[in-house]
């Protein structure tokens, strides 16, 4: 029999629907794989019963001949940034430890409605701030990959590092991620899987712990482009509870998949050759052009002149929004309370927040508070929002010349845990290629291209026009078919 944990979303869904195996068998296989993989530290809590209950519901529907849903019988991992009713939701922070929502996020509810079940809540960088999964209160997540000939634990990327690690290790067929400035794409690239961030507003933010509200978007992480299309279709949709939700039909992305790119033009931004980018990454980019050309696309050079300013602008806008969003954690309504003896209300706030937030989160809150403070607001925040307009205009210009953009996802492959965490700025540079699309709200995807000379995965990024997830997925599919990325990490956990 096929090893069930090697199957992806589509294979599981179709296999369950076709009676090749039951949803319960699938859930049991993944529950067991999750239980064995504690060393990866990918999950903060596991929910085997949730997965089993959803599986039994799917099996019962099948027995009655009912529709199983587009994710029927597929157990997934849920990033612990999504509120899940009755299941602890922490954003990997101490301040939310023990928080058990009375409500369900729209995206997770959509997935359950489509027939999916939950294996557990996945670890992440605290409040989704980080690029290596080293800022979680619940410990680092290890990538299943190792650099050839070494035994050091490698970073799965961040902030969706539990998601990327679990999917790459085949302890989950797919997982949710969120992407504020690269947190779906960079971890996907580091672990040899796919991940797509849709157009801002496609997926409801209701019930997702907020980091930077004008940037946050949810999306799927899985091992194939098809699986991402299926899962994104289930996650997306208009939600009256989110004021920025797009009131648009969800396209039939799965049915619309086509790797034939004839008549399409792909832009290659000349500014994406920054110092510090690995030679091998640049080579994979060249290879990516060949693959897309082979699929029928025309390749043209384009310019996105403000690329270099996107990252510093992001590090004003995102912390500013974070400092405002995180003001809600005050020890009054939910989460941790630290009330020193004889303390008043203000002391309680300050003590609670000091004890409840990690160092990176504090750094962001302080930066955000500073750039929004009287006297500095215009110099920092307004200037950054102007730069953001310029970055978005760069793309609008580019759409006059191309249908989608091909770029590297990251400047380097994964690095050992503990190697960059002393220097916040160097860590931020991980997202230099991911952040521009976030600032412009555009759909963007990472697909695995190849292994580098050290046996570590490299990803390629496709950025599309607003609402053109289909174009992004199709270019991703063309790369997937030509890259033939089949490499798997060797099991050590």
């Amino acid at each position: 029999m096929t090893e069930l944990t090697n199957l992806g979303v589509k294979a599981i869904r179709d296999g369950v629907a076709g009676g090749d195996f039951t949803a319960r068998e699938v859930a049991e296989a993944f529950n067991a794989a999750v239980a064995e993989a504690a060393e990866l530290n990918a999950f903060i809590v596991t929910t085997p019963d949730h997965a089993l209950a959803a599986a039994d519901a799917t099996d019962a529907k099948r027995a009655k001949g009912e529709d199983l849903g587009t994710m029927g019988g597929v157990p997934i991992g849920m990033k612990d940034l999504f509120a899940t009713r009755g299941v602890q939701t922490t954003a990997a922070s101490h301040i939310l430890e023990g928080f058990t929502p009375e409500y369900e996020s729209t995206v997770s509810q959509n997935l359950w409605d489509a027939g999916a079940g939950m294996l557990g809540k996945l670890n992440l960088d605290q409040f989704a701030m980080g690029s290596s999964n080293e800022t979680s209160y619940f410990g680092n997540v290890a990538s299943p990959w190792k650099k050839q000939g070494t035994n050091a634990a490698m970073s799965p990327g961040g902030s969706s590092g539990g998601s990327s690690s679990a999917v790459a290790a085949r302890i989950a067929p797919a997982a949710t991620g969120t992407d504020t400035g690269g947190s779906i794409r960079q971890p996907a690239a580091f672990t040899g899987i796919c991940g797509i961030k849709p157009t801002y507003g496609r997926c409801s933010r209701w019930g997702v712990v907020a980091f930077a509200s004008s940037l946050d978007q949810a999306g799927p992480m899985a091992r194939s482009v098809e699986d991402c299309a299926i899962m994104l279709e289930a996650m997306a949709g208009f939600d009256p509870k989110d004021a920025t939700s797009l009131k648009m039909e969800v396209p039939a992305w799965e049915a619309g998949l086509s790797a034939d790119l004839k008549g399409k033009t792909i832009g290659i931004p000349k500014e994406y050759r920054m110092d510090g980018t690995d030679e091998e990454i640049l080579k994979s980019w060249e290879q990516g052009k060949e693959w897309l050309r082979d699929a029928g696309a025309e390749i043209v050079d384009i310019s996105l002149p403000h690329t270099k300013y996107a990252l510093p602008a992001y590090y004003i806008v995102a912390p500013a929004e974070a400092s405002s969003n995180l003001a809600r954690y005050d020890g009054v309504r939910y989460g941790l309370r630290d009330l020193p003896d004889g303390a008043g209300l203000q002391d309680m706030y300050a003590a609670t927040r000091a004890a409840g937030f990690g160092d990176e989160v504090k750094r962001r809150i302080l930066i955000g508070t500073y750039v929004l403070s009287a006297g500095f607001y215009d110099a920092y925040y307004t200037q950054a929002q102007k730069i953001r307009t310029l970055v978005a205009q760069d793309y609008e210009q580019a759409w006059g010349e191309c249908d989608a953009i091909l770029a590297p996802t990251t400047p380097t492959a994964s690095f050992p845990l503990g190697s960059l965490d002393k220097d916040p700025l160097t860590m931020y540079l991980n997202d230099v290629y991911a952040v521009p699309a976030s600032l412009a709200g555009l759909p963007a995807m990472s697909v695995p291209a190849m292994l580098n000379g050290e046996g570590l995965p490299l990803g390629l990024q496709i950025v599309g026009k607003p609402f053109d997830e289909q174009g992004v997925l199709n270019a991703g599919l063309a790369i997937q078919q030509r890259a033939g990325f089949e490499a798997q990490p060797e099991k050590w956990w």
């Binding site: 009256p240 939910y334 302080l366 700025l425 607003p466």
Partner: protein, 100 residues
Amino acid sequence: MSVTREEVAKIASLARIKMGDAELDTMVPELNNILEWVEQLGEVDCSGVEPMTAVIPNSLRLRDDVVDAIPETGGGRREDVLANAPAAEHGFFGVPKVIE
């Protein structure tokens, strides 16, 4: 622009985060590194550029003007709202005394 230790202490107090001397010592150079790096935005000529307000054009909707149009965000959910409070008392959030 760079920030002094006193300024960082002030920002931390505005942000309601208690910080000890050791923490301030590490935070000051870290924040200055980041601020120095974002300074480069000053190079860009932004005259005549509008700051971004909405990343994807979208219009603000009005919800139906009825009570509890969306039950999850409507009223009558006191128990749910208080369920995770560190100190819920008599159906309210409990806090230390604020009036002497």
